[in-house]
Homo-oligomer: 339 residues x 2
């Protein structure tokens, strides 16, 4: 099989600010794996928070480019070998995993969701993200997002500033609101915020605290009237047991866990613990977003808008209709270059 | 899709005795689901221990015969509906799940293991079961099982009788020995037995105690030098968290959990907890045994000899070569009627 990589620069519609960083563009890496007849495509969206950038992804992919071998269906063995060889490069592993799923499903002649036994009519409502900004800009962004029935609101700076953002949002919309604090609060701030957020009719709160400190997580969950979801605290299925009892659910991201195959493990483990499942993303083109969208019938909530936050998405794939994800019907993940 | 059932009587080579029962034959139920062109086959091996028999399986299948609907690929939704409608009939659900996997994989034109992304060269060594018997008969059975590199020895009666069985076995063979007590010991007996079994070079001990009593399980695990595996204590993925820390692994059976799909969830959840995975069976024809064999590359140990313990297996499918399971290459689960 032929293996190639390409770095793509994704320009952000709005400079994107979350609790810990701000950026105007993002370099992701595409992987193409070809059997001579068909080509599977995957994408790595590296995260500085996890020590990755486009350069580290390219080095990791160079290291493992021969591993997929001759058979895209040997997924379990291939991904096990990748975990051994590039354990810290989850975005690079996700790119290979997505490309292999795309290629294998193309060879079977079925869309990925069908290979996975899932119902494309069961995709959840996906949210549109509102980054941290001044109230005036927030109000403008919320008006721009009028077609989306659910908003994901980034908080996690100072509590008073966060509440100002919430008031600005609620002055514009009755949409469903999901909060993501991106580990930005202290324990005391988080306890206070989950209490005060209840007056804004909030659907859930994601990662109120940094990873670690189980007692602080327990305090926050006890103080909260809405579900608490772990994101940065749960990367793979192995991280679920330690968070059981401390949160109500997990946010599954292909880039954190290393691809579709481990995402299934993570979802299954979370469900075994009775947890809510959200499927999320980084800033990604329609390649990685669409791969995740094929898994979304397994999730209660989707937050797959990474491709909507960029102005130059090179691909088309999953789309959004009345808030719900619409999956491509073509074999594989079903993405195509935008003309 | 057309749905039909057939009860089959499986005659046992030796009347089969485990800690709690003895039987000379077994009635299982076949399910066939046809799309007009291809037919998937599944099997229910009901267990009295879980309140099932052929009659209860037939009643449950009658209740849900329309549920698979028009599309064998809608596995997630179909199996969710079955869990709601016949929650207690896991063997009946397994039969439908196996038949749908067989039909869908046939339509994709690939063997089930390939659909699941697994390597047929990674199947584990499967064990041959020696039921409870008098020392003389045990020695004869062990000699008959000379081709199998691993034996699964049923214990769980009186400790002194169990040790007599172990001495009889070790007088005949150096094979790998896995113990299954089928919940037959008290806590004190189990603690004593795991200590005394260490002199017989035992690979693992399965279900030393009845389900429940976490403190007793903890005592047994602390006293044991070999891994302790849960069977009757873990039916589905939902049962794993409560046993985490009390055992080293789980025995996954299609008939307990309700099929291939839930077996994957259970395996993933066990792995997330760092557990050993064994894949086991009931008294089953080659239909259900072969379905489980396709999953066996995900397991550390296999105990898939249910079809070898009967004299009139109506099907051929997975076979055993030098102790390892050999998977059929035909599309689907790949079983065929014996001529």
């Amino acid at each position: 099989m032929r293996f190639s990589t390409e770095t793509i620069r994704l320009d952000l519609v709005h400079p994107f600010r979350i609790a810990r960083e701000v950026s105007a563009h993002k370099n992701n890496v595409l992987v193409r794996i070809s059997d001579g007849e068909m080509t599977g495509i995957g994408e790595a969206a590296p995260s500085l928070y996890y020590g990755e950038d486009a350069g580290s992804v390219l080095r990791a992919l160079e290291e493992v480019s021969a591993l997929p071998g001759g058979d895209p269906f040997g997924l379990e063995a291939t991904m096990d070998r990748l975990v051994t060889r590039i354990p810290g490069d989850s975005a690079a592993r996700a790119a290979v995993d997505i490309a292999l799923h795309d290629l294998a499903a193309q060879r079977l002649g079925v869309p990925l969701y069908r290979w996975l036994g899932l119902d494309p009519g069961e995709t959840p409502v996906t949210s549109f993200t509102i980054g941290i900004d001044e109230p005036k800009a927030i109000r403008r962004k919320v008006r721009e997002a009028a077609g989306y029935p659910a908003l994901k609101v980034k908080l996690g700076s100072e509590p008073e500033k966060d509440l100002e953002i919430m008031r600005a949002i609620r002055s514009e919309t009755d949409a469903r609101i999901r909060i993501d604090a991106n580990a930005g609060w202290t324990a005391d701030q988080a306890v206070e915020m989950v209490k005060r957020l209840s007056e804004f009719d909030v659907e859930l709160v994601e990662q109120p605290l940094p990873p670690g400190s189980p007692e602080a997580w327990r305090r926050v969950r006890e103080a909260a009237s809405m579900p608490i979801i772990a994101d940065e605290s749960v990367l793979t299925s192995r991280d679920v047991p330690a968070m059981a009892g401390l949160v109500d659910g997990v946010n599954v991201k292909l880039m954190k866990c290393g691809g579709v195959r481990e995402a299934l493990r993570l979802i299954h483990t979370a469900r075994a613990h009775g947890m809510i499942v959200m499927i999320g993303c980084m800033i990604e083109s329609s390649v990685a977003i669409t791969a995740a969208a094929h898994l979304s019938p397994l999730a209660d909530y989707a937050d797959l808008d990474g491709n909507l936050l960029i102005s130059n998405d090179p691909f088309s794939g999953a789309s959004v209709r009345q808030g719900h994800l619409v999956l491509p019907e073509k074999p594989g993940i079903g993405v195509a270059p935008r003309s």
